[in-house]
Symmetry: C2
Subunit: 412 residues, 2 copies
């Protein structure tokens, strides 16, 4: 019977496929010749994997040799290949990195977290202590405040916005630990300090601790990866990535912010004739990840796909324009839409083969609408700096279907 | 200033910690002496990671050398380490495997899917074709119909129930493709065939195609892993894992089921004097993953944690018993609770140090309550077989805090 079925496959694989493809919905989408010829070919028996038993089960799986998603490392960071991802979870080994003195090698049995300052009971916690407290899981993005690059047409989503990633984080609410040590009523801020060689420090308003801040020890189910803060990191959903202190070893409660280097000379930006500091929430933004450079599309149906997110809550609406911003259509959002989380959007477009520009813009539940670069410059002035840059971005589609980034122009 | 802060750390790390730990909520939980002594120690400067700049960013991340979660491979399967996971997503390299002839090595550019039989337009689809259709993402579990082992006290959750895993799957709804080829009204079933050396085949009622069946090409955002069906697999949310045909190459529509080996001699089981066949949905079940063998717990607060799921819809309730099943308490479910998905549950227990047994049981949205083994045997008879075994399982807690599995007794 198998034999019959196989012959069956080969016969049917012959003449019918082109005719029927053109008969269906895809008729509207003329496939590139290469694909059509492929469809005409019979199944090549010598390539038939049913003829060769494969390797058996293993302790750890590997990617197919045909798939090689990689981060783009520089000396200080690596970027998530957003264009290679089809949904919202970032595989842990592809989560973006931003270090200030490399990745510390920490023995979890020796690591401790000190909480002191304006507290009733200064305490040290081991990882084992932290795991004994009631745990919670939260899926949210972490994004570098400096996420956004532009300048040339040959840029991928990874090049433009690769400093954002999303994980399913598990740990203990900071409020649970703060109740344990007892917080002095005078405390208004807390310092978080990492145990990397940069001894990274930021000060956070105490309201965030009573809201949704966490100390997390797990990422996508397993232990946090070393470059994400192993064995523990601070998680501040929606806040600047830099504040989500990795390799967390100390929290000190205080009346005033500590004005660390990272919140005075860094992570500040000019707004007209003033400097904005302590700008915590990441503003809503979106990016089309398909189609994008260096891909080529075909006439007919193209599902435009991408990510949208906001540090202030849920994405309430994503709009897509396929005419350079003249008109906007509502994209479909992948459920469940979570607060302060990457949200996957999709919009089915029928491309007529004429060159155009495609854009996306997001509105979050606070009513905030992702701005154009022109609006950002108007609001902040020409010396706009590199932080909290979330302009609408566009892809140019050429008549041959090749896609290029449309570099932002800061002056228009 | 850094210097001051560091000294600060060391001083505070000294006398205070034990006193304050005993002063807090954890007082109820006497820590093992080892931990207390650790807490007494000052931070060891020679171990201070802030003194050594670490390695920089990389193309792909690796796990900490202190973390080594692994699947347990046999010659035909490998099992997910449920006890090592803190939430619901299974990292792709830890997803369980069950092959019948190993993992085929498939060139995605050459792979094609034939859909024929009772259809209006038999068609071949390349991976590129399938990716052009409107895509959807769904998080759900896949579980082997034979998942459940028992027999001795020294068994971990991985040993007992490691043949279930969960991913965020992305692909195209089968109904979208069926509308493309046009289904003959006479078609009531469809055969799905894999391109592994076992040429795995199962027949599925067509209603599943119009409901929620998918052809998926992505797992946790990236391309499906080879052992999960690269480049495409059939996804039948809630159905027996074996029916979610991997390396999918052919679908044939028919009036009757094909009665393949996998649905006649396998994946059937005795129910009294009859044989149950085509038992598609995986029944609701749950397991406590912490505490579990070979862990040891301490007196006081212990957060009991585990997974519950149902092939018929959402988990509506998980109950935990800490007195061997005499009384049951409601566990907290991690939101969002998704349909046909692993759902993480938690219950905070204050252990008094007396030996006992802890159990969990789930109720799904259909009102189905996870049965005891006794109830399963009563319903199905003594020759119960190994498929669809979802009895309530128990962990024995000894006075010294060590945890052991309570092997099921098929006769009582």
């Amino acid at each position: 019977m198998k034999k019959e079925i196989k012959l069956n496959v080969e016969n049917k694989a012959g003449g019918i496929s082109r005719r029927s493809l053109l008969g269906g919905v895809l008729a509207a989408a003329v496939l590139p010749l290469g694909e059509l010829f492929a469809l005409e070919k019979d199944v090549n028996i010598t390539d038939d994997p049913t003829k060769i038993p494969g390797p058996g089960p293993s302790a750890l799986g590997k990617r197919s040799a045909f798939e090689n998603p990689v981060r783009k490392p520089s000396d200080i960071s690596s970027r998530t290949p957003l264009q290679d991802l089809h949904s919202t979870i970032t595989p842990a080994d592809l989560h973006f990195e931003r270090h200030h003195a490399g990745i510390p090698n920490i023995d979890p049995a020796k690591h401790q977290l000190l909480i002191h300052g304006l507290v009733e009971r200064p305490m040290m916690f081991t990882l084992a202590d932290l795991k004994r407290f009631p745990s919670v899981t939260r899926t949210c993005f972490i994004e570098c405040a400096g996420n956004f690059r532009t300048g040339k047409e040959e840029m991928t989503p990874q090049d433009i916005l690769g400093l954002t990633s999303q994980s399913e984080w598990t740990g203990v609410l900071l409020s649970t630990i703060f109740n344990e040590v007892g917080i002095d009523a005078a405390a208004k801020w807390f310092l978080a300090e990492g145990s990397d060689a940069a001894v990274m420090t930021r000060t956070i308003p105490i309201a965030k601790a009573w809201d949704d801040a966490m100390i997390v020890y797990a990422q996508n189910g397993e232990a946090i990866r070393p470059e994400q803060g192993y064995p523990i990191r601070l998680l501040l959903p929606g806040f600047e990535g830099n504040m989500n202190i990795k390799w967390l070893r100390r929290i000190e409660l205080s009346e005033e912010p500590y004005m660390t280097r990272e919140e005075t000379s860094k992570y500040t930006y000019p707004v007209k004739d003033k400097i904005s500091m302590f700008s915590f929430e990441m503003d809503a933004r979106s990016i089309i990840t398909y189609p994008s450079y260096p891909q080529q599309i075909n006439k007919g149906y193209v599902e435009i796909r991408g990510l949208a997110w906001s540090g202030r809550g849920k994405v309430s609406k994503v709009e897509v324009s396929t005419d350079g911003g003249k008109s906007w259509e509502i994209a479909k959002l992948q459920e469940p839409v979570l607060s302060k989380a990457h949200t996957y959007f999709r919009y089915l477009w029928n491309w007529n083969g004429v060159s155009t520009e495609i854009l996306s813009r997001v509105t979050d539940e606070t009513g905030y609408l992702q701005p154009t670069l022109k609006q950002l410059v108007e609001a902040r002035g020409q010396h706009i700096g590199g932080y909290h840059m979330n302009p609408i971005t566009a892809w140019k589609i050429r008549e041959d279907g090749f896609v290029f980034f449309k570099p932002e122009n800061y002056t228009k």
